[in-house]
């Protein structure tokens, strides 16, 4: 009875309804009403996603599938169905997306000063596109949502950003588009070769998985498709050498948008990598795992070293996100249960910590009107609340115990060390490099936060209060809560990681 009114269609498309309501002339242009409506809707949406989490957590079932109202008739001649579904991993990503959106909406109150109607409309369109990415059970539907997210994101960066925001927005779109071309080519090859091989047109991910298991694809084509998908996701993850767009976008966009970037956008790529590269091509993922591990190692060390010398607070945090996603790839490429568990947990960790770090740096910039580390100092004396909450979130980023990052990093390190590679030494060197990166993380975060909070301030600042205090406190609370009880999250996606590790072992 409790779950009888669950509808993924409603969950994904209801934000579009909210966007239409806000955009309609009947709603008016009063920013107070727009904000209130947005926050109320965001809260209800988040509570609704929690019901799905309960569904997956209470043992009702690890998987939830649904053919939506558009049904099988939608482009059925081409075998494309607007089917949606969630599993233990997806439901957490959906919940975290909705949660981060709610926090972004709350934090937008004092940051967004113009074009409220357009801003909140675009935010809800973006939410819908992102949820669609996580829930799509059809390859082309996934791609549609993947590309649909670009339009609102481009406008959100370019319209409300600072500095070279238009150029950064264009860079983001170009990079994602370029990656998507490879992905599209891979999808078309997968779709048509499947049709020629067994005479049935379908782009359903489940159907494609069966095709893959049947072994009808030539190995060369499979390899090309694998790399096509990988490049598409690697650009957005982002890993070295495709990472340069992220630092620019984060430097020039507004804090609520940065929070979404870090918390959700990067996770869509991680999710895609698991859903397509691991799920559809487990044997190729296993075959190429050492190369992926090498890429991850380069990405981690490169990002950590670059972060050490940045003068822009947002760029430091961006490199922290790049490092985290490198760790994600490392965990995944270890092919072990512990590594995969850690990688999935790291996606959730990155959402909390990335959001927290961007919220803090955003609040620092709001107070000081600058984002240059050299021009900020002494905030700790006037802003003790922000300072203490920053300590919690930055310690979490360093992987200190009792914060959510510790179990994730610990699992990844253990998984990497115990990876069963032909060259036994390689995973061990990777583990040591990860360990070095942990020290580097401590160095660049301490350097940044000491620069911000220690020393003498040139003027008086007001400490954070009201909604800003609420947002950062909530994030700090969850970072500690899930750090103490990591199993409460891991038990939800355990069936998925088990399935993935079995696939990779086979």
């Amino acid at each position: 009875m409790l779950f009888s009114f669950l509808s993924l269609t409603f969950l994904i498309f209801s934000p579009i309804l909210a966007a239409v309501i806000i955009a309609s002339p009947l709603f008016g242009t009063n920013p107070i009403y727009i904000r209130r409506f947005a926050k109320t809707f965001g809260t209800c949406h988040f509570l609704y996603t929690l019901l799905f989490v309960l569904f997956c957590n209470l043992g009702v079932g690890p998987f939830y599938n649904e053919i939506n109202i558009l049904g099988t008739g939608w482009l059925s001649n081409l075998g494309i169905n607007a089917a949606f579904g969630i599993d233990g991993m997806t439901v957490l990503l959906v919940a975290i997306t909705s949660f981060t959106f709610l926090l972004s909406l709350i934090l937008s109150k004092t940051i967004i000063r113009t074009k409220h109607k357009m801003y909140y409309t675009l935010m809800f369109l973006l939410l819908s596109a992102l949820l669609g990415i996580f829930c799509a059970k059809d390859m082309f539907v996934f791609l549609i949502f993947w590309l649909a997210e670009l339009i609102p994101m481009y406008l959100l960066i370019s319209e409300w950003g600072t500095g070279d925001c238009k150029q950064s927005a264009m860079k983001y779109v170009l990079f994602t588009f370029a990656g998507s071309i490879f992905m599209l080519m891979a999808m078309i090859a997968l779709y048509y070769y499947g049709y020629h091989a067994n005479g049935e047109l379908s782009s359903s991910i489940d159907f494609l998985r069966i095709n893959m298991e049947d072994g009808i694809f030539p190995i060369v084509l499979k390899k090309l498709i694998f790399w096509g998908f990988f490049i598409g996701f690697a650009v957005k993850l982002p890993i070295f050498p495709f990472h340069t767009w992220l630092t620019d976008v984060n430097a020039d966009s507004v804090p609520p948008v940065k929070m979404l970037f870090s918390a959700v956008l990067l996770n869509t790529a991680g999710y895609g990598l698991i859903r397509f590269n691991v799920d559809l091509f487990p044997e190729l993922f296993t075959y190429y795992a050492p190369i992926l591990m090498l890429l991850a190692m380069i990405s981690i060390i490169w990002a950590a070293l670059c972060a050490l010398k940045q003068k822009d607070i947002y760029k430091v945090v961006s490199y922290a996100s790049i490092m985290y996603m490198g760790l994600f790839l490392l965990g995944l490429s270890s092919l072990t249960k512990a590594g995969i568990d850690g990688a999935i947990l790291l996606m959730i960790t990155n959402a909390f910590i990335g959001t927290g770090l961007f919220a803090i740096t955003g609040l620092v910039q709001q107070a000081t009107k600058t984002k240059s580390l050299q021009e900020i100092s002494g905030l700790g004396f006037y802003m003790p609340r922000l300072r203490n909450l920053s300590y919690i979130i930055s310690f979490a980023s360093m992987g200190i115990p009792l914060t959510i990052a510790f179990p994730a990093i610990f699992l990844i390190c253990t998984g990497t060390y115990t990876a069963d590679y032909t060259n036994e030494l390689f995973p061990k060197i990777a583990t040591i490099l990860v360990a070095v990166s942990i020290v580097l993380t401590a160095m660049y975060l301490l350097r940044m936060f000491h620069s911000i909070f220690c020393g003498k301030a040139d003027k008086k600042y007001n400490d954070i209060t009201g909604h800003r205090l609420v947002v950062v406190s909530i994030l700090a609370f969850f970072i500690i809560l899930f750090g103490i009880f990591p199993d409460s999250l891991m038990s939800i996606y355990d069936s998925v990681s088990e399935m993935l590790s079995e696939l990779l072992r086979a």
Binding site: R385, P401, T418
Partner: protein, 458 residues
């Protein structure tokens, strides 16, 4: 006796409540007075002392057998990481020592430093530091001890950061601590991988201290002498960083701006936890003579360096503590408790009585310079840190530059090649057109990829 074992969690909960009240009084301006903070912290330390005395008596003289309890905390592939409590003779001895130190420190803070502007924060950090140190000595397994040793380091850092005017000093302490943590982590993972692969441990939690003596010999055989030595060496680096032994002997020097009770507690309890870990793991270390020799050599160097510095430089209290700590690694473990306690008393006395007098022996300038350079090892770390980081940062820039320049050159070559291909098509045969088509498509794709990569951090 059963009452104390059953309610052991009380000794951890009360200091946390006291810390919460202290932070609330200062930061969130809740209606918590300083008197409430004082009362709660003294109560917590008194309760802890009562528990410690009772447990010490019953486990050392009452013939009570060790008590062990644990619960699964984190899934680690096929196995689980557990959190638990192990109460035995050894942990009760350390607990009594820690409780006495915490009680003394709390009393001194409340009566001597009550007017300090940062009093509430100090009390908060003192309670949290104490509770994690006490939790560490009741650790049921190695991973749990590792987790808690990190937390003690973090709260020591937070306390010193509160007192320091120059934040670089406290940062350096934390970074040195993190280096130790990371080394410990690597050693720990080697252990865990061994346990997972060999299924040596059954019926208890992963790497339980109570079973260490049983599977340590298997571990030694599994890894061979060199492998075993390397794994243990990583753990020793962790302990060295914790106890401030050579070459990380300056971690306490940077915390000397704190009030004397805070400083003394942090030094003695940090050294105490390092020693605790050393003794708990001794059944493993003693399997290899090379490991024991390494520990002895490190201890001897630390004693010599710290004692020399104690005699001839201004900032003497930290070096005295560390020389004391290093001595502890040499004798039999049973005497450790007394020396930890003595270290606290002596450090407090040094701070209160000897510090103002500063009796220094005048030495020739070259020797003074040598001593100065030994004392300022932190400068050496900074030099290394800055230069290595600069080197890598420049290296990344150079690589970026060469990648971009290299790609531009390739594009140039490609353009020339395409021109050559175009000239080929002027022959007008079908093969030339096909060749041109393939080369052209490949070139466009490559240029596109280069454009993506080429837009670097430059």
């Amino acid at each position: 006796m059963q009452f104390f074992t059953d309610n052991i969690l009380l000794i951890f909960i009360l200091p946390i409540i006291a810390a919460g009240l202290a932070f609330s009084a200062k930061i969130f301006k809740f209606s918590v007075s300083e008197n409430t903070v004082k009362f709660s912290t003294i109560t917590a330390s008194v309760v802890s002392l009562v528990f410690a005395s009772a447990l010490f008596y019953s486990y050392n003289f009452g013939g009570v057998s060790p008590f062990e309890i644990y619960t699964n905390w984190l899934r680690l592939g096929e196995t689980n990481l557990s959190l638990g409590i192990l109460i035995d003779k050894f942990s009760t001895i350390f607990f009594l020592g820690f409780s006495i130190i915490a009680f003394a420190a709390n009393c001194l803070m409340v009566f001597k430093y009550k007017d300090d502007s940062k009093f509430c924060q100090y009390i908060g950090y003192l309670n949290l530091f104490t509770v994690f140190s006490e939790l560490l000595i009741f650790s049921q397994n190695i991973p749990q001890a590792y987790i808690l040793s990190i937390l003690t380091g973090v709260f020591a850092y937070l306390s010193s950061d509160l007192a320091e005017e120059k934040s670089e000093n406290s940062s350096l302490s934390l970074i040195l601590n993190r280096i130790g943590d990371v080394a410990f982590l690597i050693g720990l993972i080697v252990f865990i991988s061994f346990v997972i692969n060999s299924d040596v441990q059954e019926g208890s939690s992963l790497l339980a201290f109570s079973e260490l003596h049983m599977f340590a010999p298997d571990f030694y055989v599994y890894l061979s002498d060199a492998g075993f030595y390397t794994a243990c060496l990583f753990i020793i680096i962790g302990i060295v960083a914790k106890t401030g032994m050579f070459p990380m002997y300056n971690i306490f020097e940077n915390q000397s701006k704190m009030p004397a009770p805070m400083y003394s507690t942090i030094c003695s309890l940090t050294i105490g936890t390092g020693l605790f870990l050393f003794v708990r793991l001794i059944s493993m270390f003693e399997l290899s003579e090379t490991i024991l020799n390494t520990i002895y050599i490190l201890s001897a160097i630390t004693i010599i360096v710290c004692m020399i510095l104690f005699l001839f430089v201004n900032n003497r209290r930290s070096y005295y503590m560390q020389a004391m700590a290093a001595i502890l690694f040499l004798p039999v473990p049973k005497t450790l408790f007394y020396i930890v306690f003595a270290a606290f008393v002596l450090a407090t006395l040094t701070d209160i009585i000897l510090q103002p007098q500063c009796i220094l022996i005048k030495l020739p300038t070259p020797i003074q310079n040598v001593l100065k350079s030994i004392e300022n090892i932190s400068n050496l770390y900074r030099w290394f840190g800055d230069n290595i980081v600069d080197f890598f940062a420049n290296f990344t820039k150079v690589v970026d530059k060469y990648i971009i320049n290299g790609f531009l050159k390739i594009i140039n070559i490609l353009t020339r090649f395409i021109s050559w291909c175009v000239s080929l098509t002027q022959n007008g045969n079908i093969q030339s057109y096909i060749a041109f088509g393939i080369i052209g498509t490949a070139a466009i794709l490559i240029v596109y990829i280069l454009l993506i990569i080429g837009i670097g951090e430059m």
